[in-house]
């Protein structure tokens, strides 16, 4: 029998020598060029990092490929970032350019640093999740193909982080991203009356609904539940606890776009992303409506924001009314909050722009 509870490998065994030596002693860094960081230690030591994009969903052969590079240039060490990028590190300046070249040969872009669009945090989608209202990897691929140049350059007002979640469970920090793409259902669950009582606990199912839309079936003979469709906002929480309440629907499913979130405490405190496009259809394999909407928004942002101004900081400065005007996105009932703390979003001042 295998040993249990051994935990992950000790990170200390994974660190390159130069890091072990300079652990906690780094003094400053520079971005040498897109995708290349230079960290300088108080000891005088220097470390170059080359950051490369990754599709995240990769084969073991892919991992072996990058291991080959790390063996060749980085003494057999590498790391991944919190956004799936691959980081190759070396103290040797001369290795940087050859390293970049080899990364290029694998078809991987070097970039993702500074005022760029870095990798897209995303989720499983139709690859693996039963909850998905849209795909993840394909949408991300379509987006990054189009925004590729922004990964390898640093010409935006500030770094722009895009995230994608394939349903409103929002795996990832999607609710606080500069731009977030979120899979949404727009039709209530179709109750499978035949199997429900076998698969689900009825009281748990009823309790799962945040809006109280689920009730016991009125016909006492039928051991199932009913959904009051006017109260359902398609959150899928009932489906999570009860498989007999699927929401997926080829026509109803699609994506929503949120904007202006951030996580860092730099300048403005962290903020949530906010709804800007309530619904765009699923249009595989390249989701053109989604891609063009993002491009449009990024263009307007790039044109209007000040230096170092994150998407949300810019919108806060110019006002959401200006955002909707400049992007030509229609403002609808759906944009107005009607959940628990809705009133806190209503405008209680005569200060606004026309």
């Amino acid at each position: 029998m295998a040993k249990t509870d051994i935990g992950p490998p000790d990170f200390r065994e994974m660190l390159p020598e130069v890091i072990k030596k300079n652990y906690g002693k780094w003094k400053y860094h520079e971005i040498v060029k897109p995708g290349v960081l230079k960290h300088v230690s108080e000891t005088g030591d220097v470390l170059y990092t080359v950051r490369a994009g990754s599709p995240r969903l990769v084969s073991v052969d892919f991992i072996r490929d990058i291991c080959d590079i790390a063996d060749k240039y980085c003494d057999g060490h590498l790391r991944f970032t919190s956004r799936y990028n691959i980081e190759f590190m070396t103290p040797d300046k001369n290795k940087v350019e050859p390293l970049i070249e080899e990364v290029g040969k694998l078809g991987l872009p070097v970039g993702g640093t500074g005022k760029c669009i870095t990798n897209v945090v995303h989720t499983q989608g139709w690859i693996h999740c039963h909850s998905a209202a849209t795909d993840a990897s394909a949408v991300v691929k379509a987006i990054m193909d189009e925004l590729y140049d922004h990964f390898t350059s640093m010409k935006l007002p500030a770094q722009l982080r895009i995230s994608l979640a394939c349903c409103i469970n929002m795996c990832g920090a999607v609710h606080c991203s500069d731009l977030a793409v979120v899979g949404v259902h727009t039709k209530p669950p179709k109750v499978d009356h035949e199997h429900l009582h076998a698969l689900c606990e009825i009281p748990t199912t009823i309790a799962s609904c945040p809006t109280g839309a689920i009730r016991r079936h009125s016909d006492k003979e039928i051991k199932s539940v009913k959904v009051r469709e006017d109260l359902c906002m398609y959150c899928g929480n009932c489906f999570t606890v009860c498989p007999a309440m699927p929401l997926a629907d080829p026509e109803g499913d699609g994506v929503a776009i949120y904007a202006g979130g951030k996580v860092s405490n730099a300048r403005k405190p962290p903020m949530f992303s906010r709804l800007i496009v309530p619904y765009l259809p699923n249009n595989p394999p390249r989701w053109p409506e989604v891609v063009s909407t993002l491009k449009k928004i990024i263009g307007v942002y790039a044109e209007h924001a000040q230096e170092d101004e994150r998407m949300g900081e810019w919108i806060q400065r110019v006002g959401w009314e200006t955002f909707f005007r400049l992007t030509d996105i229609p403002f609808t009932e759906q944009h107005i909050d009607d959940f628990t703390h809705a009133v806190e979003t209503y405008r209680t001042t005569t200060q606004f722009r026309w």
């Binding site: 509870d5 051994i6 890091i19 919190s82 300048r267």
Partner: protein, 387 residues
């Protein structure tokens, strides 16, 4: 194969590295990867997922770490009829030796689809797709090469931290060590579900928060400092001479007006009591401005995604705490929080939702923390005060 999956094939084009290419690479050796490609194609056509609600699957001794998954059209795609994923815990900071990585590759080549996520969005290595019968042997092999499972279900989820002191000059805490230490300490909590719902811990070395802890962790550790930030005036001048508009881009963006640029003396002046440690001036001039030296962490509580009562950003719980091994205070606090949550929480109620339901006051009393103004942006406006 190409003709069968025209839409997926389309996704091989374009400059961004293609996951379809990766699936096809794996498909050369793994029938399950081949079937996965077809499942995905079918989803592109049908515009719905073809995965069913996962049943309970796992490995001996563990209550989580494996996500069960079954196809809803198993006849059509028999090699992915059961297609479960492993969540494998990562070394702090996602540092690897190629040796370790190759070992994982070999194991997964043998028992799984050959497809992975490096990483999952919590931070685990995701081994994507194994039949039920391979779960135990695969786990045994992983354990053999020194890997263990991450969290899933109502457990402590895989804690993560930013790169921290390993490669970042701003880290005020040893993110890698605190994450590793807590992970090792709470192996039981990680592997055996007994709570109302999931619980996440993340640590960032400074307020830039490069693991998005404040948004995604029930227990958020963010490095900070209590003294004044350090300014090297010569280096400031260098930035200014190099063309940085210090007045506009540094001073002008300080959220509290704590900075002043003395154009004559060419000096950056700081009112330390007004600095809220937002990192901006440091970010803009890493050579000239550095965090202070009296390091510690701010502890925040309750970050989470929208399900069920709405999303939360973590709330300040302890403005400043020293963070040194063996992290006893942190561990005691975690145990107190879990005890209280475990006792009062309803099924699928995150700790933040429980705090909302029973009140922050009740929570603070339970964990023995005194109220301080740093916990709130502002005191209550309503007069509905209990005495």
């Amino acid at each position: 194969m190409g003709k069968e999956t025209p839409m997926a094939d389309e996704l091989e084009k374009g400059p961004w590295p293609s996951f379809i290419k990766e699936i096809k690479r794996a498909a050369e050796k793994h029938p399950s990867a081949n079937d996965l490609l077809k499942v995905v194609e079918r989803s592109y056509k049908d515009k719905v997922t073809h995965w069913k609600h996962g049943g309970i699957v796992g490995v001996t001794g563990y209550g989580g770490g494996v996500i069960g998954r079954y196809s809803d059209v198993p006849e059509e795609f028999p090699s992915v009829a059961a297609f479960h994923t492993f969540r494998v815990n990562h070394p702090s900071g996602w540092f690897y030796t190629t040796k370790k990585l190759r070992q994982i590759c070999d194991v997964w080549e043998k028992y799984g689809s050959g497809l992975t996520n490096f990483h999952g969005s919590t931070g685990d290595i995701i081994l994507l797709g194994s039949p039920t019968e391979n779960l135990q042997p695969c786990f045994d092999a992983l354990s053999g090469i020194g890997f263990d499972l991450g969290g899933s279900g109502s457990v402590l989820r895989t804690p993560t931290g930013c790169v921290g002191p390993a490669r970042c000059e701003w880290s005020c805490i040893d993110t890698l060590n605190v994450i590793y230490d807590l992970t090792m300490e709470f192996q039981d909590e990680l592997h055996r579900p007994r709570w109302p719902y999931k619980f996440k811990i993340k640590a960032s070395g400074c307020p830039n928060d490069c693991v998005a802890a404040i948004a995604r962790a029930d227990f958020t550790i963010i490095g900070t400092w209590r003294d004044s930030l350090r300014i090297d005036q010569d280096a400031v001048r260098e930035y200014a001479e190099g063309g940085l508009n210090v007045e506009k881009l540094v001073v002008g963006k300080c959220p509290t007006g704590a900075l002043e640029w003395d154009e004559k003396a060419r000096e950056l002046k700081l009112k330390p009591q007004d600095c809220v440690r937002c990192m901006h001036c440091i970010n803009k001039m890493p050579k000239a401005v550095r965090p202070g030296l009296d390091h510690g962490a701010t502890i925040l509580i309750g970050g989470k995604a929208p399900i069920l009562k709405g999303a939360n950003l973590s709330w300040v719980l302890i403005p400043f705490i020293k963070l040194e091994p063996p992290y006893t205070e942190i561990k005691d606090l975690l145990l107190k929080i879990w005890d209280w949550w475990d006792e009062h929480g309803r099924t699928r109620e995150r700790v933040a939702e429980l705090i909302q339901r029973l009140g922050l006051k009740t929570f603070l009393r339970a964990v023995g923390i005194k109220p301080v103004p740093q916990m709130v942006n502002q005191p209550r406006a309503n007069p509905y005060v209990f005495f």
